[in-house]
Amino acid sequence: MSAPENAAAPDNAAAPETPATAAAATAAATAAPTAVEVTAVDKVFETRGGQVHALEGIDLTVAAGEFVSLIGPSGCGKSTLMRLIADLDAPTAGAITVFGKTPAQARLDQEYGIAFQQAGLLPWRTVAANVALPLELHGAASADRKAKVEQLLDMVGLADFADRYPDQLSGGMQQRVAIARSLAEQPRLLLMDEPFGALDEMTREKMQSDLVRISAETGAAVVFVTHSIPEAVFLSDRVVVMSPRPGRIREIVPMRLGSAAGSAVGVAQATTVPSTGGAARAARTDGLREDRSFFEMVTAVREALHGAPVTTGARGVETR
């Protein structure tokens, strides 16, 4: 944490060839639209009680603009996997690339935005100053910063609260500020670790709809950690179901939602290409939560989680 990263060589070395790198990145993004590529990743934590295998043999590809949820019981390593992608931890074995770069380089280049379960706003900064923090750190001009912050707060519906302090906001509003902040650098990838986990159900559904709209507007890929099945189903293009000790991917369930997709369930079963278009995602409205296809997908994810068809229990109820 305390390493002086600004002084790190990659930054300086990359500076002269920035146009080339940027061009290459754009080319890569259009040619091979891969946001995250995780290959044979293991993560072992050394603890006093011995080794803990947090992740084992993880392979996962997230396409650009795709919304992928990681779901599983506590201790399945879903948060750990997200932290590896964010370069907050390093894998023990295997490789991770983010837009073709190492996670460390992607972090230095601000390729991703991140939001945690706690909003993590700085209490001494106003809402606007909190959103401006990443821009400030990366030396954006004051006028640009102001315009950008205004636009972001507009997007999360908090334009009237720019001058408030975090302690004057509700939990849901704080979390929206945190999401605005994660979008400040216009990242092509959003990493979210149970961002709505601490919110009440009603706020949560509202926030989910907002996130669907925002991710459609920005076209960013999202890796979303959650332990709520309906949340994962409502938001995602694909749901990655994980199992604990050691953390493994049990199944990847593609989502087909909406009236059009719903009628085609079964027919389109063979199609493996996930729907990644912003238009498809924007079509996810609250009405979807009562759609037949929604419940079918909830069931599919639940069965994947439990490893066997579930015959009893009300459908669409969260198992947390």
Partner: protein, 328 residues
């Protein structure tokens, strides 16, 4: 004691004043009543302050009136002081004495003026010592926060440093200082006093600053990491702002310590012109002029209040950095 009283006063006022601050911009109509409420609270604060002083005077004079002249003794041991005019002058005598000249010489200044000048001299020395203490204390905290090893190696020594009795090394510092001469710079006696004051001041500041710099939540540290913010950027945007609620009480303790250090060091190094010297000098004359000895004591109290009050002012300026403190 003095510092503590100011601390609670100031702390109470600041936390109470958050009420109107919270609603800035939203609830316009109830504004006047809130302002009136604030004014009433301020009046109440002043009222309680006056009440405290009056209570003290009543206790002093009441004891003097009711207790036996020889004080209260248990066996041979005196547990409460004598009440003679020599031991406990009347309050009005002590205040009245402040207006009279120091000596009978026709050119003598009034006692209050002499005390005030001496207090200002000591305040200046204590302020210099406090500033050195801030620089050294924050510097040590930065080193200890940056390197775990430095914390393990330094912290015990910092704690140990405060167990050395002040009067033991005050003369040593003075004699070392008198040998320092770099070019045209010559070590002054007041610098020895300031150095000793800083020795007392740096300790709470180092401890408080370390605690404050280490206080940011893990989530905030990781957030800064994801922003690829380096050490200095993290320090400026996260660690120092987060340290403010820890630093302010530390700075206040440091200010009180600097005043005590300066007064004691003046006495033990024999520096002229400060309130410490005046305390000793007038105490020696107390048998003939008991009220006079209280002049410098009042001066020292005011000195402590001013020192602690200045830091409280700093806290009022930095109030936005203390939001967590107030919410808690």
């Amino acid at each position: 004691m003095i510092g503590d009283r100011v601390a609670t006063d100031e702390g109470g006022r600041v936390s109470r004043s958050t009420g109107p601050g919270l609603d800035t911009g939203t609830s316009r109509p109830p504004r006047p009543t809130k302002a009136a409420g604030a004014a009433r609270r301020r009046l109440a604060a002043v009222g309680w302050g006056v009440f405290g002083i009056v209570l003290l005077v009543v206790l002093w004079e009441g004891y003097k009136l009711l207790a036996p002249a020889d004080g209260v003794l248990i066996g041979e041991t005196r547990v409460l002081p004598r009440t003679t005019d020599l031991a406990m002058p009347h309050v009005w005598d002590m205040i009245g004495r402040l207006g009279e000249p120091v000596t009978r010489s026709p050119s003598a200044q009034a006692l209050w003026l002499v005390v005030l000048l001496a207090a200002l001299t000591t305040l200046g020395i204590a302020a210099a010592g406090w500033l050195v203490g801030v620089v050294v204390g924050v510097g040590l905290a930065l080193v200890m926060q940056r390197w775990r090893l430095a914390e393990w190696g330094l912290l015990p020594w910092i704690v140990l440093s405060q167990t050395v009795p002040l009067i033991a090394f005050a003369p040593i510092v003075k004699s070392w200082g008198s040998r320092v001469e770099i070019g045209s710079f010559e070590w002054q006696d007041w610098m020895s006093v300031a150095l000793i004051a800083s020795y007392l001041a740096f300790f709470p500041i180092a401890i408080g600053a370390l605690k404050g710099l280490q206080s940011p939540d893990r989530i905030h540290e990781e957030l800064m990491q994801t922003y690829a913010a380096g050490y200095w950027a993290t320090l400026a945007k996260l660690r120092f702002p987060a340290a403010v609620p820890y630093l302010l009480p530390a700075l206040r303790l440091g200010a009180a310590n600097a005043v005590i250090g300066a007064v004691v060091a003046e006495v033990s190094t024999g520096l002229q012109g400060g309130i410490g010297r005046l305390l000793i000098q007038f105490a020696g004359q107390a048998s003939g002029d008991p009220a006079k000895a209280w002049g410098p004591i009042f001066g020292a109290i005011v000195l402590g209040l001013v020192a602690a009050g200045s830091v409280a002012l700093l806290g009022a300026i930095l109030k936005n950095y203390r939001r967590t403190e107030e919410a808690a």
